[in-house]
């Protein structure tokens, strides 16, 4: 059975850096959305679904009221069999959690909380447009723990405009002070058409100098390692055994069903994309139709590329045998040109697994591009 992702496309208000589809919406929109969501479950999985991992993401799932979260819990009870589930994560925006909501989450089945903290520094919180105060995250963690959510992960951002290494270390230090088992540490990305990017273009904010960003990339690795968290993906760190099982399904390109507005699924080498707009999404389902806006059956070539794109992000890399099986030929022979050069440059290692070195991870996009271009040249893959 595939893993399950459920998307809640609502936020209290839009953050400055975010280009993710989410929307400030009224209570009635949300109620309507939850009904539609159940319709999608019914249409796609009339016999229910029994995922090994569940991820409730957004947007801001905790933007839902306790009442609405309980409604969601009812839906899950009716539609999802959690008997085989080994991990159920919910993204939590610290500013939106209440003890009542925490209880509702636990009732829903959540056993792992991923807190979108981003920074503990009040100035950065403000410049990123986050909605809470400095004291909020600790309270939120305490609430979650009190409700019985034992596994805690935190998201932080670095390479923020004006941020220095000391401030970064300070953030890391605070993040780990909660007995956190897992950290997602993202370098700030300037996405197109976000307020932050416009400020960057107009010169209102100065981007983090590249040298510093590289230093930060190494710093977060070292800092986490010293605290017993290993980098197992470009931006993810965990105590041994505490890796996010759900996200590993993505990176290893397994199968997942994404439900809700804007969610993506990968089922039997097919990408299925739902309507991003929650109204369009609800409209479709109310009319008894699936909310799909795009389906793409991946060709072998695209499967290979997707696998490289995802799995090379992992410390473990990708199993060469799996690539061989996909291509139907020796991958290492086909990509020899690129592999030799990249190995010589100290960016990759290639044994039973093809994986990036620390330096390679830092320039992963270029590494993948090199390999993909060589494969295009040497391999005529079946369509």
């Amino acid at each position: 059975m595939p893993s399950l992702y459920v998307h809640i496309p609502f936020c209290v208000r839009k953050c400055e850096y975010c280009d993710f589809y989410s929307e400030a919406a009224g209570e009635r929109d949300i109620d309507r959305y939850l009904v539609a969501l159940e319709c999608e479950f019914t249409l796609r999985y009339p016999d229910g679904i029994a995922p090994e991992t569940v991820f409730l993401g957004g947007g801001t799932p905790t933007r839902l009221s306790a009442e609405q979260l309980r409604t969601l819990g009812e839906i899950f009870k009716r539609r999802v069999d959690l008997s085989r589930c080994i991990e159920f994560t919910c993204e939590i925006n610290p500013g939106t959690l209440t003890p009542e909501k925490a209880d509702a989450l636990v009732a829903l089945g959540v056993d792992r909380a991923s807190f979108g903290v981003q920074s503990f520094n009040p100035d950065f919180l403000k410049s990123l447009g986050r909605i809470y105060e400095v004291g909020t995250p600790p309270q939120a963690v305490a609430m979650a723990r009190a409700a019985g959510i034992t596994r805690v992960s935190m998201d932080l951002m670095f390479a923020l405009p004006g941020q220095n290494l000391t401030q970064l270390r300070d953030d890391l230090h605070q993040a780990l002070s909660f007995g956190t088992e897992h950290l997602s540490l993202y370098a700030l990305t300037y996405e197109d058409d976000t307020p932050l990017t416009r400020d960057l273009q107009s010169g209102k904010v100065q981007p983090c100098p590249e040298e510093l960003e590289r230093a930060m990339f190494s710093t977060v690795g070292d800092f986490c390692a010293k605290s017993g968290l290993q980098r197992y993906e470009v931006s993810n760190f965990a105590r041994p055994g505490a890796e996010c099982r759900h996200n590993l399904v993505y990176w290893r390109v397994g199968e997942w069903a994404g439900l809700g507005a804007g969610a993506h699924s990968m089922l039997d080498h097919e990408i299925i994309e739902n309507a991003a707009d929650h109204k369009a999404y609800a409209d479709a389902l109310e009319a008894g139709k699936l909310p799909f806006v795009r389906r793409e059956k991946l060709t072998v070539g695209r499967q290979v590329e997707t696998l490289l794109l995802m799995a090379l992000r992992l410390d473990e890399g990708v199993e060469v045998a799996r690539l061989d099986a996909l291509i139907g030929e020796k991958f290492t022979a086909r990509a020899a040109d690129a592999l030799e050069t990249l190995t010589r440059q100290g960016l990759i290692e290639c044994g039973a697994h093809l994986r990036c070195t620390d330096r390679g991870l830092m320039v992963l996009d270029s590494v993948i591009l090199e390999i993909a271009c060589v494969l295009d040249r040497t391999t005529a893959l079946p369509a």
């Binding site: 992702y5 993202y186 590249e210 931006s235 993506h264 830092m362 320039v363 270029s366 591009l369 090199e370």
Partner: protein, 604 residues
């Protein structure tokens, strides 16, 4: 068209410095014509090409025939509007061969400028009667008296000869018309002599094929005549004759003294000897050719390459088509290690180059890469042969030649006197040799230098404009080739020669100019996974070097909720970008790098 006796025909061209108002005045004269159709009037009738209208400049000389009624009598004016820009000087000189007179315009807001001087001397050499016009007197900035004084001082023109006019408002136009009748002599010639006609231009017309513009000296031209081109000996049958005026107007016959066109089945404009004489096939052994005029030689050369290698044939077709209507540029196939297959094109100057390239891109829809322009050189081999070198990459090792020579021009600059010092300094820096200075009054002077052409095409004009605050103008003419201390600079990317970037420069500039090219490359070539060395070398010696550091960080931080398409789209985009790169020594060099070298803004 009614028949005009020779005594009632006037052939003249309009000459002036660029933008002094030639085409505007020609439009005015056209409107004064008895045959003028008010309904067909549009702005810039003379500048009929799109590119001319957009740029507001004349590129091709144009002949028009105007029936006129002056003081109650019928006249035929054959007027040739000429371009003012230095690159098209040859258009002016060949127009003059078809005329007895010239209207010399001087913009009174600007006074005499460099091309005014060049054109005036050409007119005098061609024995033309010159009618001096002080133009744009309607403008507030007009300085009529000073301009007249200047014309007197520089050309010895008497004040009473000058007509005060405005092509825009029509002031002085009646006086101009009368002066044309009174001062310009009618053409001489004899209808009963065997035909001689000078070909002074040729254009390609989609319906008629090649159309030759001719000036009849003796005899007449009419359809079905068997004619011969005297230089080539080729024979043709006349299919159509006529005159030009807002389009071509067919006539039964072109009479002695007239200017008009002839269509006679010539296939390609490249086959036309402009300056050649047409006569009757039957009399080709008895008449003497008219004093001819040499085809202009290209002054600058540059490579043109298609962005997509598969467009090479389309590029060839585009060039072929363009050469139908412009016989003054040359093109031969060439090959470059860096750019693949393309053509080396010869142009009359930088503006001409610009125009050809723009027309090519526009008319053929091709995406092109152009190399930096260069002049051509001559080398003297140990055996005493002179070999022409049209691109730097072709220059052999210095041991293979005795000397290398470069084209030298005489350069006239007109400048406000307070910039004289700066102009001299700039010209000397650019290896100019100061020769003469003449004061024009009104705080202006004309300076003359001998100067390597390569320095002029490098950036001289832009620099001149900037140091004279826009007031400086220049004109140059080729006077020969001279030996100089020139070296070939090779540009290397990751230790590999980039032939398209090689350049021939004077030893003293080798280092500074190489450095600029390297810095430009550094800006344009994206960082790679490895460090890239950029080097410039003369012979085996590195004279400048730069490096491009390797990619520092390049990884998408976040991968959103199972959305893999987003990353794949990014990869597709990167793959496309990579496909457009030229590979040099394992380095991907974007096409833009070559273009931007062209735009090295050359502050020494």
């Amino acid at each position: 068209m009614a028949e005009y006796p020779l005594s009632n025909i006037r052939n003249f061209s309009i000459i002036a410095h660029i933008d002094h108002g030639k085409s505007t005045l020609a439009d005015r004269l056209l409107q004064s014509s008895a045959a003028f159709d008010q309904r067909k009037l549009r702005e810039q009738t003379m500048d009929s090409m799109d590119l001319e209208r957009e740029r507001g400049i004349t590129i091709k000389a144009k002949a028009i025939a105007l029936p006129m009624v002056i003081r109650g009598e019928n006249y035929l004016f054959n007027l040739i509007d000429t371009p003012g820009h230095v690159d098209f000087g040859y258009e002016v000189s060949r127009a003059m061969h078809a005329c007895e007179g010239a209207l010399l315009l001087v913009d009174t807001t600007q006074g005499i400028q460099a091309q005014t001087v060049a054109n005036m001397y050409q007119a005098i050499n061609a024995d033309l009667t010159v009618i001096p016009l002080a133009n744009k007197v309607d403008m507030v900035a007009s300085r009529y008296e000073e301009t007249v004084a200047e014309m007197h001082q520089v050309f010895g023109i008497k004040e009473e000869e000058v007509i005060k006019c405005s092509g825009k408002t029509g002031i002085g136009v009646p006086e101009i018309l009368e002066a044309i009748v009174d001062r310009i002599p009618p053409p001489k010639g004899d209808r009963d002599n065997p035909l001689t006609a000078l070909i002074f231009d040729a254009v390609y017309d989609d319906y008629r094929g090649v159309v030759l513009y001719v000036r009849i000296r003796d005899g007449f031209l009419e359809p079905r005549q068997k004619i011969a081109m005297m230089a080539t000996g080729k024979e043709f049958e006349v299919l159509e004759v006529g005159v030009a005026r807002m389009g071509l107007i067919k006539q039964p016959v072109l009479e002695t003294g007239c200017v008009g066109y002839v269509v006679c089945g010539v296939k390609s404009i490249q086959d036309v000897g402009i300056g050649d004489t047409i006569t009757l096939a039957s009399s080709k052994d008895v008449v003497k050719p008219l004093p001819g005029y040499k085809k202009p030689q290209p002054m600058v050369y540059a490579g043109i390459y298609p962005t997509q290698a598969s467009d090479f044939e389309n590029l060839r077709k585009g060039l072929q088509k363009l050469s139908l209507s412009d016989s003054s540029f040359t093109y031969v196939p060439e090959q470059s290690g860096a750019l693949g297959h393309g053509f080396r094109c010869g142009y009359l100057g930088l503006l001409h180059m610009d125009i050809v390239q723009e027309r090519l891109e526009r008319e053929s829809g091709l995406e092109l890469v152009m190399t930096a322009p260069n002049v051509h050189y001559e080398i003297l081999t140990p055996k005493g042969e002179v070999v022409k070198i049209e691109r730097a990459a072709d220059l052999p090792d210095p041991s293979q030649y005795e000397e290398i020579r470069e084209p030298i021009v005489r350069l006239n600059v007109i400048t406000p006197t307070d910039s004289i010092g700066d102009v001299i300094k700039l010209s000397l820096e650019r290896r100019g040799l100061y020769q003469n200075q003449e004061h024009l009054g009104q705080g202006r002077a004309m300076l003359t230098f001998k100067m390597p052409l390569s320095e002029i095409i490098f950036d001289y004009f832009d620099r001149l404009k900037s140091i004279t605050h826009g007031y400086g103008t220049m004109d140059y003419e080729l006077i020969g080739f001279e030996a100089a201390d020139l070296v070939k600079v090779r540009i290397m990317v990751a230790a590999e020669d980039v032939d398209a970037l090689a350049m021939i420069v004077h030893k003293q500039f080798a280092e500074s100019r190489s450095r600029k090219v390297l810095i430009k490359l550094k800006d344009e070539i994206p960082r790679h996974l490895f460090v890239i060395a950029l080097q410039a070398a003369v012979g085996g010696k590195i004279i400048a070097a730069e490096r491009i550091g390797s990619v520092g960080k390049n990884v998408t931080a976040k991968c959103y909720g199972g959305d893999v398409s987003r990353k794949r789209k990014l990869l597709e985009k990167q793959k496309k970008g990579k496909a457009r790169m030229k590979m040099i020594g394992g380095v991907e060099v974007p096409q833009e790098a070559f273009l931007s070298i062209l735009q090295v803004d050359n502050e020494d």
